[in-house]
Amino acid sequence: MYGRWILLFALGVIAVLMASPLILTVFTSLKPSTELVNPAWYPPLSVTFEHYVRVWTDGGFSRYFFNTLLISVIDAAVMIVIASLAAYAMVFIEFRGKLALQILFLIGLMIPVTAIVLPLFQIVRSFGLLNTHFGVILADLALAVSVFVFMFTSYFVGVPKALHEAARIDGATEFQIYRRVIMPIAMPAVVTTALLEFLWSWNDLLLRLLLLTQDEMRTLSVGLLNFQGTMTRDVTGLSSGTVIMAIPVVILFLFFQRHFVRGMTAGAVK
């Protein structure tokens, strides 16, 4: 069975090619400046963390990191609440105009963020929220909420209606049913939402570029962009900054690969 081995070998080559840009970046970030004359695929002969320290402290990446973390965590947490509440109403509560609402949320799946950033900037400004994390969070939530409303909706539809009925007969309010009965069994949807919204929020550049202009408010994406603009030749600094930005999501991905894969295929329209 040579065929199997040829196949495995070809896939191995593809895997190495796919992984190499990341591996080379890590290599460079760990090299002492004297080793930069070596070809990029040489592993560092002696490992140094000085570039990380430099970028983290002088480069301002510690602030960028915690700004990014703050926005992403709040984004993910609030998204779980608002999207699941809305989806709960769409599935379990009878009211008029449900179809219209469904169509309204559907429109959200079709709006490319890129196309509406100009008026979005104006609205955030008119609320006095330019240069605030709150403004970015609101914009993030608005632009992704429909994806997650549909994600929760499709999960809730699979929950037996009898469960909801039984709780109603026991005299529970809708909110109690939501809290005590439905949400505890919706954990897979909660995890997917948290991971995906965190990821999108962590990675975005455009909205942050537009809405955060003061350096102390900036996120990793904008910080890295500016660093790249001013320190074009600082290869080790740039690669350290890139690794700092990539590491949290890479770790999350390695731990929750299956959730990510499911979420990304479901939320792929965004």
Binding site: L11, A89, L138
Partner: protein, 295 residues
């Protein structure tokens, strides 16, 4: 929420209370800007002055005669085309290979999918560095004796768009592979057995069994890749800003320059609307195909 569950008011109020947070944020920061971008596109607003003047279709007639817009338009389609060829073609091949392998499958799959979670900004930094005249790619070419092919990848007019498309594909092909893999797992194993009995080679089996069975999934990946690539801004902005000159200018970067940097809000919005129309049309198509598949 705190009302007697059986009262008439509770019935009226419940859906409102549950929907209010999501709906308010969504309408104010997503629906309203979408309506606004259309409205802006009929004005000559500069984004600052308190009053805006309506100019009818002037921005759109200007679009039609704007050579840079058409260049950006053409570039966006070329860019999308290249990415579709790689993500659909190569994505399908990789998925088909991966489906036949058990050893080390998770490891290989992880290497292929991992770039999907990397921020476009980080992707931009990595590839800008690799594409440098003295960067890894040229170093590699020289080492294997192909130094003649070495070139400043992002600085050369004919190559820059393709070079960037390759970087984008690197960071997105994992998603196509996953979707194709899911599709492949749904193909009936008996069909392969039957093909084998009939003496089909693996390539023939792929051609006559796998491909026809995967047609709907292929359509999904196709349109998904199309819409995703049309929306790209971050990667291009963080590498070339549309340059050199206009050779990697796409609709989103052109809109950003006119609208956000030059304060031509009306005209920038007209470019935004063109993007909105193309992406929405493609997304509607995508959802219809998905619907048909679900049934």
């Amino acid at each position: 929420m705190f009302l007697d569950p059986d009262s008439k008011w509770a019935h009226r109020l419940n859906p409102v209370l549950f929907l209010l947070p999501a709906l308010t944020i969504y309408i104010v920061f997503a629906i309203y800007p979408t309506i606004s971008v259309i409205e802006y596109s009929f004005t000559s607003w500069d984004g600052i002055s308190p009053d805006r003047e309506y100019v009818g279709l002037a921005n759109y007639t200007r679009l039609f005669t704007d050579k840079i817009f058409w260049e950006a338009f053409r570039n966006t389609f070329v860019w999308s085309g290249v990415i579709i060829v790689i993500n659909v073609g190569l994505g399908l091949v990789i998925a088909a290979m991966l489906a036949r392998v058990w050893k080390a499958r998770l490891l290989i799959q992880t290497c292929i999918v991992l770039p999907v979670v990397i921020s476009p900004m980080a992707v931009a930094t990595i590839w800008r560095w690799m594409y440098q005249p003295s960067g890894v790619i040229n170093q590699m070419l020289e080492t294997i004796g192909l130094g003649g092919l070495a070139t400043p990848w992002l600085g050369s007019p004919e190559i820059v768009l393709y070079a960037l498309a390759l970087a984008h594909s690197w960071s997105t092909i994992g998603l196509s592979v996953i979707i194709f893999l899911a599709g492949l797992q749904a193909v009936d194993e008996d069909l392969y057995e039957a093909a084998k009995v009939d003496g089909a080679t693996p390539v023939q089996a792929f051609r006559y069994v796998t491909l026809p069975a995967l047609r709907p999934v292929t359509a999904v990946v196709f349109i998904l890749t199309l819409t995703q690539s049309f929306k790209v801004f971050d990667l291009v902005w963080a590498t070339t800003k549309g340059g050199p000159i206009r050779f990697s200018e796409i609709l989103s970067t052109y809109m950003y320059k006119r609208g956000a940097l030059e304060n031509q809000y009306g005209y920038g919005s007209a470019i935004g609307v063109s993007l909105l129309v193309i992406v929405s049309a493609a997304t509607i198509l995508y959802m219809q195909i998905q619907n048909r598949e679900d049934r």
